[in-house]
Symmetry: D2
Subunit: 361 residues, 4 copies
């Protein structure tokens, strides 16, 4: 009998329908199908491997995920430490704050008449509506808080931790900001100026001169310092944007100062952009290797899918992980209450890069 080609090793196994399958069973059956279904299953497997390995997991989120109903998934991932550090757009934190303050986004339609919405002061995000008036209330609330802080520069990481704390004290409600506050998970927001949080901060300055300063270059230093201390990293990216690059940049920057850094060991991204136009959001994880953002032997997968489909499935499947796995992770311990954060009880500067390395594991 003729020998099979070396390319023909593992047969596709058609997905078998069955009632009662749970998310992890569904993803497990998708491991042997093709295309983005398989990619999603691979993403699940890689995330599990991240959790079983000794890596610091960065997650980036862009797109209207909070307005779109995924904020409690992210909060869940933070609380249970499926991730160690969040990098987000301002909008996702703002829409999280909106709901944590007891307000809502609403089911709407992409076919709505926007002139009518404008008249009613309803803001539309594709198929989702919200009240502009409530948004103005949020801006003001953020401005008041920022104006109440000692007038000095704050990294977005410090500011957001404080904002989360204030939000928790005020509302006692779960959400991304409050969960991160309670779990001592840092949040970076490199483009915070480009969001309603930025608008709130600009209004703080109107209320109390000298307030509303965000030191985003401090965030650059601090995020790289995390990688210098913890050179084994992993990246989970939802939607591209500034968070995707910022997470990669931390690694590239860290590598200048430490030979132990060698790019993420694991990387998964769920994106809707494609690589053909050269933009960073759609760029492949293969390309990322050329920059040293990823180790060339990293486990990696891109999933071409809307996060509102992929993340509910992924998170539901990850919920099946043995709690011991999560408990046994050698995850970094942060304190975040002041300008100088600590990681594993060591202070971490936002003003200069750390030269000393921990031995790479």
């Amino acid at each position: 009998m003729k020998k099979k080609s070396r390319f023909l090793q593992t047969p596709i196994e058609p997905f078998a329908v069955e009632a009662g399958l749970t998310a992890d069973e569904i993803l497990s059956r998708m491991e042997r199908i093709s295309f983005q279904g398989r990619s999603l299953a691979t993403a699940h497997r890689i995330w599990r491997r991240m959790l079983e390995d000794d890596v610091t997991i960065f997650m980036g989120m862009a797109g209207a995920l909070s307005a779109g109903g995924l904020r409690m998934i992210v909060a869940h991932l933070i609380t249970h430490r499926y991730i160690d550090c969040l990098v987000s757009t301002g909008a996702n934190l703002y829409h999280d704050l909106h709901e944590t303050r007891g307000q809502h986004h609403y089911l709407g339609s992409p076919h709505a008449d926007d002139a009518l919405l404008a008249k009613d002061r309803i803001d539309r995000v594709y198929d989702t509506f919200a009240s502009e008036e409530e948004f103005i209330g949020n801006d003001n609330w953020i401005a008041d808080f920022a104006a109440s802080l000692e007038p000095r520069p704050y990294t977005s990481r410090e500011f957001l931790h404080r904002l989360g704390g204030h939000l928790w004290e005020t509302t006692g409600r779960d959400g991304i900001l409050t969960s991160a506050y309670r779990a001592n998970v840092p949040i970076f927001c490199p483009a915070i100026a480009d969001s309603s949080i930025g608008m709130g901060l600009s209004q703080a300055r109107q209320k109390v001169p000298g307030t509303g300063y965000i030191d985003i270059i401090g965030d650059v230093v601090e995020s790289a310092n995390i990688v210098i201390r913890r050179p084994r990293t992993a990246s989970v990216v939802l939607g591209g944007g500034t968070p995707k690059n910022f997470i990669n940049q931390a690694t590239v920057q860290a590598e200048f100062f430490s030979d132990d850094v060698g790019g993420h060991r694991y990387a998964l991204q769920v994106v809707t952009d494609v690589p053909q136009y050269g933009g960073a959001s759609g760029s492949t994880l293969e390309e990322a290797q050329s920059w040293g953002k990823l180790a060339t032997d990293s486990a990696r997968v891109s999933v071409q899918a809307d996060a509102t489909i992929a993340l509910p499935l992924l998170a539901s499947a990850l919920a099946h992980i043995d709690p011991d796995v999560l408990a046994q992770r050698r995850r970094p311990v942060f304190t975040l209450t002041s300008r100088v954060m600590t990681i594993d009880d060591q202070p971490l500067s936002c003003d200069r890069f750390e030269a000393q390395n921990e031995p790479a594991v």
Copy 2:
């Protein structure tokens, strides 16, 4: 207290992660989120409504779904009559036949070296591999079968029913073609010439002159006649292509001959194309109303997603439907063994449009 805008009725309800959720529970929690997650949940709801109403359900499939591991889902949908009539590209039926004949597609990589694959005679479909030699074997098998038939024109519907029967007798294995044969569900393949089944048919003609004639215009007549007889219809489209238009065309064509026909009452599509380029695959269901393909009051939803993610989830959720619902459907009963098929015991011509209508329900 101020009155809310009429646009703010139903709040988004953030997806709550929980271990042990089944597919239908996951989709149910996605009903109140946004974007394509919500669209997928709506697709699930609309499909359920189709099954509870008295409609004839057409399903179209394009894209490499069979090679990609979804063929047993389609077979399951046929066997349990979640659908009443399938319109497919030739490739999907060919790759189904390939596996039903005991062969496989294989896990591959989109980054493979195609020159090496060509040398090894391995054909690649994105991340999936198959043996060219086995494909040639299939072509020959199809050619032999087609050459054995009485030399006259066959609608694709009749030919595929016979092919499914021969495949069942030969292999006794489940698949799309064999399930459709056993469940007496008609399969139309309007672009059958553009596929390896078409190549097989062309080779039949080489073997036995006068064989290998497919009467696709007969398929046009016959599919419209189904709608004339059963004017309440629904459409499930996976991936656009010729099947999407053919299902709609049947309705438009039928309307010339019967006032009872008024466009599909329900329509859902899972597509990756977008409308902005004017192509039929990405065209919206709203646009379809202008053509009379859909009733203007139809329930409808487009899901922008890869079918390899959407269909496993949808089908797993639909598996939770009470078997009584499926049993109580007033589904059409077909016989398909000859040139003149029957529907509900009445013959249905492929040579002229039926003028007589059943009363619309």
Copy 3:
């Protein structure tokens, strides 16, 4: 001085704006930029090389290009023999016929109210409108013509040549069908049943029993025979769909019967689909090599762009080609008026594959 990496050879040359640039000058300046701009410039270069080499050029067109205002470009490409054989969807030929018959498509809006359009019997294609009544007139005109033909099977190639002839005699107007008729360029339409031409053919059968038979399997044989006779081929694909695969299939099929066939020597495609979902429309030209559809050393490029942007630019630039280049092409000479076509004065069967080869050049 340090040696540059071997990867750094040809610098990007930023596009320099200047008034008065013609299309070919613009594309020439785009050769040294990046992303899809460069791809489009490469497509232009490859098409020029096709014309200078001795290859038979197949062009495939899918998407609503005729309705969308590109039909006279295609007619121009046919008349001046930038291409030698057209493979089209039925819709593109139908919408061409619509305008050649003196009717129009109209500027519309993607934001139109489709229920209102339906009431007015206006059909919408994204941002373009047309009259349903005029479409019904076309269907009837096609039906009358088809019913007037001797009742026997016609390949789509023969039928479309005759249809083009009838249209030319009736209208004397240029268009795709009439230009192809006059230039003796064959048109194949493998999915003709899936279009309003197919609907017209089905209505012919209603008028005169026994008419309206299209032998698409004959098209499979005939198109492969063209490649067997002319093994050096090139492929220009606009929009994917059945034409893309049919052109490739002709090559694969021909290879069974002739060792001279080795896949297209040149290939360019302008598509909006992407490969990640496994569909044929978006599949890469690299993948096509694994199937033998393309020679592994072929010149090839994919342009990710809407044809309504890319084709006007490409065709305007190609218009600058020296007429001698076009005149000196060793292009195939067809006669198309009967069931058996000829190529270079030799008859070409649609009933069996040709075994004899011309020597490969």
Copy 4:
């Protein structure tokens, strides 16, 4: 004769191929075709109308446009004041600086082996390569410059103007940064931390403590103040990202402080993202109306295309505009050399919003 539907007013006019057409003639012929071709032609028309009206034109650029060969187009648009204010990602300014410093990006391939590239320290952006070593040189150059500045916070606008000046003095070469410096066109970079310019700034801090502070909240205030002073605005967006939102945010923020502000009067965007996933990059200009970002009666168009195709064509066509039209624009006059910029000879704060308005024109 029967009356035409009111929906059928202006016929599609098929594009007529002709040698020697210039960019504006090509776009003019695309006005009466469909889909994205028409959208691009409309974008051209709207940009012309912006230039003829009395509006302040903001342009946003995201994606790898500078690396990809479009930087001299942007420089041209700045120099000739087709735009009045640029909002950019950091990467586009960084890759501009890279070339202005006499270095290059290089033609590469999307199929390159990234592990090999990594070994050679070549960074890949889709089909474009660059030397990592040269990038490190740039970072250091930026760091040295930033470290040489008086240690205080700088808005990105002030910093980038100074950087442009330094670059001009050092190199005397044209580019985006140097042209903007020379033409006194402000550049905002709200996400400057998320780029290699941000990395350079972080390294400045390493060299001279207290340097490398960017006051992005000051940018929020300042950009809104421009709109307060000049409430009639227009928006040209290439590629979405933070620039798209930042330009819109300026308008929304300004509206809090001035009733004269009512959203952009003109808006065009060239994007590759689509709206269906809810992300800001792909969001429609219709949706933008609901937020008050655009006037509900604004002229607007979205072009779904890669900027590397659309921008060369648009800019070449705009080069045909009568120089008098550009000369007669009542364009804002800026001075940008210090923390407090001026517009039309009036100082403009970055520390508090201006309440006084100019009368709306």
